[in-house]
Amino acid sequence: MKLKLKIWRQENATAKGSMQTYSLDSVSPDMSFLEMMDVLNEQLMEQGIDPVAFDHDCREGICGSCSMFINGEAHGPDRLVTTCQLHMRKFKDGDTIYIEPFRAKPFPVIKDLVVDRTAFDRIQHAGGFVSVNTSGNTQDANAIPIEKADADKAFDAATCIGCGACVATCKNASAMLFVSAKVSQYALLPQGQVEATDRVINMVKQMDEEGFGNCTNTGACEVECPKGISLENIARMNKEYLLASYKA
C-alpha cells in the first residue's frame, strides 16, 4: 500500500505546531498502525528528519499509552480497539491519513503526538481508592459474597485504560466517562461504600479544577471508547454525586 500521511508536528509545549505531509510506500496490510509509524520514523531518520514522537508501550491495547486522533477519530476508524491494535488492513491503497494528538486543554501537547495526561492521575489521587492498609490482617476474601451481576458490572467499569479517548472525542473535553468508570467500580462493590460520599465529591471537584468540560450527553465518548465503557456509568456517577451532595 502507498499512503499519504498528514501529521501534526510540534517541537514542544510552547512551540507552534503545524500539519506536515509525508508519503510512505510499501505498507503491508498486516502491520499495526504503530508499526506503520515505526516504518515512517525509520524513513524520516534516514532523511535526517526528526522522527515523529508518539506515546506507545504495551502494543496490545491494555496500557492506555497510545493516543492518536486518526482521521478525526480517537484511535482511528475501527471500534473497540486502541491505535496499537488498529491494523493497516482498515485502510486502502492511496489513502490520505490525518494524524493528530488528543486535543483538550487539560492535555497539553508535549511533543508532536505526545500529550500530558497527568490530569487523569490527579483525579485519581483525589479519591480513586479504598482506604485499606496492607496489613495482611484484612478479613478473608470470601467473607463478603458479592452478587455476580454487580461484580461483573464493577469489572466492566474497572476495565477503563485511562487513555483519554473520551476527552479527546468530547466536544466539551469532558472527562465524565473516565471519572464515572472509577466511581462506578467502587459504588457497585461493598468495599467502596464506606468512602462513597467523599470519593465522588472529591473526584468531581478535581475534575473541574483540571479544566475538563461538562457532559452534555452526546454519547460520543462511549462510541469511541476502546474498552466499551458504558454511558450508564455517567448516570450512576450523577446519582452518586446527587446523593453525596445531600449528605454533605
Binding site: 502491520m31 525509520e42 522522527p51 483525589a126 496492607t134
Partner: protein, 667 residues
Amino acid sequence: MTKLNAHIPQGPIADKWTNHKNNIRLVSPANKRLIDVIVVGTGLAGGSAAATLAELGYNVKAFCFQDSPRRAHSIAAQGGINAAKNYQGDGDSIHRLFYDTVKGGDYRSREANVYRLAEVSTNIIDQCVAQGVPFARDYGGLLDNRSFGGVLVSRTFYAKGQTGQQLLLGAYSAMNRQIGRGKIKMYSRHEMLDLVKVDGKARGIITRNLVTGEIERHAAHAVVIASGGYGNLFYLSTNAMGSNVTAAWKIHKQGAYFANPCFTQIHPTCIPVSGDHQSKLTLMSESLRNDGRIWVPKKKEDAEAIREGRLKPTDLVEEDRDYYLERRYPAFGNLVPRDVASRAAKERCDEGFGVNKTGEAVFLDFAAAIERYGKEKAHVKGLDENDSSLVQKLGKQVIKAKYGNLFQMYEKIVDQNPYETPMMIYPAVHYTMGGIWVDYNLMTTVPGCFAIGEANFSDHGANRLGASALMQGLADGYFVLPYTIGDYLSDDIRTGAIPTDSPEFDEAESNVRAQINRFIKNKGTKTVDYFHRKLGKIIWNKCGMSRNKKGLQEAIAEIKALREEFYKDVFVPGTANSFNEPLAKALRVADFLELGELFAKDALERTESCGGHFREESQTLEGEALRDDKNFTFVSAWEYKGGPSKSKLHKEVLKYENIELKTRSYK
C-alpha cells in the same frame, strides 16, 4: 570479594518467615518519617512496595518511565494469580503450592523463599478484595478459580483475561492514596540511569527526565529496584516496547550480582510472527489451554496443504490430527508447564508440521470445548442437547464469557474468527526467571539496594508456573520487602537526609552525561532499532528454546562484535535536552548488548538442561530435558568485573531439605 550469603533463617521451613519477622529489627513510626526510600518501577512489585512503605510512614520517591504508574507492563498480564486458598476444596495447601512451584521451577529455586511466597499468597487475595479489585465470582457471590499449567488443582484467581490490569490498578489506587497524602512523590517519565553508592551503600540514583532531558540527582537511605524483566533482549517479546534492563544492569555494574541470566521463559501460546515489520508479540493467555486443545496435522502433506491454503483446518477429520501434548503427556495433557509445551511445539514445527505460512505455528482449537459447554448449557436450560446449532450458539456464549477479550484481540490482529476456526499460536519470549541476585531479605549484594518482582531471580527457578508472576510481584511488594527493609534501615535512624552534592553524586552524574553526549555526538549511519533487531536475532536463534555449545560460543563472539559496531556506527537524532525517544532507546540497547553476552556465557556454563534452559547435549533418548543435579544444583551469580567477558561466577548451592529432587515428569 563479597561472600554470597542468602541469610536464610534457621528452623523448620513452615516457621522460618514467622520467626524471622519476630526477630528482625524494626524502625519506630517516628523514625520512619526521617527515612527516604527510592522505588524504581511502578508495576505490581514497585507499585505495591511504594504504597506499603508509604503507609508504614517512610518518605517514598517512586519512578517510572511511562507517563503514569498505571501503565507499567504488569497491566498486560492476562490469566490470573495463584493463591493457596483451597476455596475449591480440591486438596490445595501452602505446602502444595510450594511444592508445585519448586517442581515447576525444575528444582533451581531457593526453598525458603518459595515457601514464604506460598505462605503470603493467601493474604494477597484478601488484600486485593479489600481494595475493591473485581475478581471473577460465581453465582453464589464467592470468588471463582481456574486451573493453570503444571498443577492439578484450581487455585488461580482471575478477572476475565485482564487480571494483571485489575491487580495493577489496585496497587495504583493504593499508591494514589499515598500520593494524595504526600507520602509518595511520583516521578513519571523518568528513567534511572545510575545508582549512587556512598561508603559502599546505595544512597541514591541519577535519572533523566524524559520530557526535558534534565539529569537529576535523587538521594535516599535505600533504593528498591522493581524494574521488571529483560525479555526485550530478544527484540521480539511479549514485553512492552519500553521494558528494559537498564536499572537492573546499572546496579549490576555497581556490584549487584546478576543471577541465572539464561533462565528465560518462552511462552507457548502467542500469536505467531506475521512479517519483518513486527515490533512486538502478543500473548494469548495460558488459561486458554484449559479449554483449547493443541494439535497439528498427523500427515506432512496435510500440514503443507494447510500452509498453502488448499485445506481448511476444520476440514481435517479427528483421525488425521495429532494432539501431540495429549499424546506425549497423558497425565497433564494440554496443561503441561510452559517450557514443556513450548519445546513440544517447536519440535513439531521443526519436523515440518507447522500450520501457518512460515511453518512456525500450531493450532489451539476450541471446537470441542464449545460443544461440551453448549451441551451442558442446553441440559441446564432443559433444551435439546442434540440440536447442533443451538449447542454451538450456547457453547460460544460460554467461551465468550470466559475469554471474550482474548478472542477479540486475536481477531483484530490475525483477521480470523477463532470461534469458527482454530487459533494459530507459537512460542514467544515472555518472562525472565533470572535477575538480580537477592538474599532472603530481598537485598542485593550492594547494601541498601533491594530488588523485587521480576527484576530479581529468587522464586521461579528455571521455569515459572502460570499465574505466579503476579503472585510474586505482589508478595514482594506488599508483604515481604516492607518488613525486611526495616531491618536494614534500623541502622539509619540517625543518619539524617542524604546530601546530593557529594563527590559520589558528582561522579555518577558526569558519567551519565558523558554516555548521553557520546550518543548524541556519534554521527553514525544506523538506527538504534537496527542493532536491537540484530541482537534479538542472535539471541533467539542461538540462545532461544534450545541451545548448544557451538551456537552459544558463536553468539558470544557475534554480540561482542555487534556491540563494537553499535558504539561506532549508531545514529541518534535530536538533542540531549528534549523529548528524544531514540536517545532513550539507545541507552537501553547499550545495556542489552552487554547483558546479551553474559546471558550466552551463563547458558554456555550450564551444560545441563533444566526448565526453560534446554541444552541439546543434555537430553534423554525421548528428547526430554535431562537435569544434572550432581553438578548444577546451584544459582549462578555473576559479578561484574569491567565487562561481560570478565564477569566472575559465584555459586549459591541450593539445599533441598523439604522436597526431594526428582525428575520432573508430566507424563
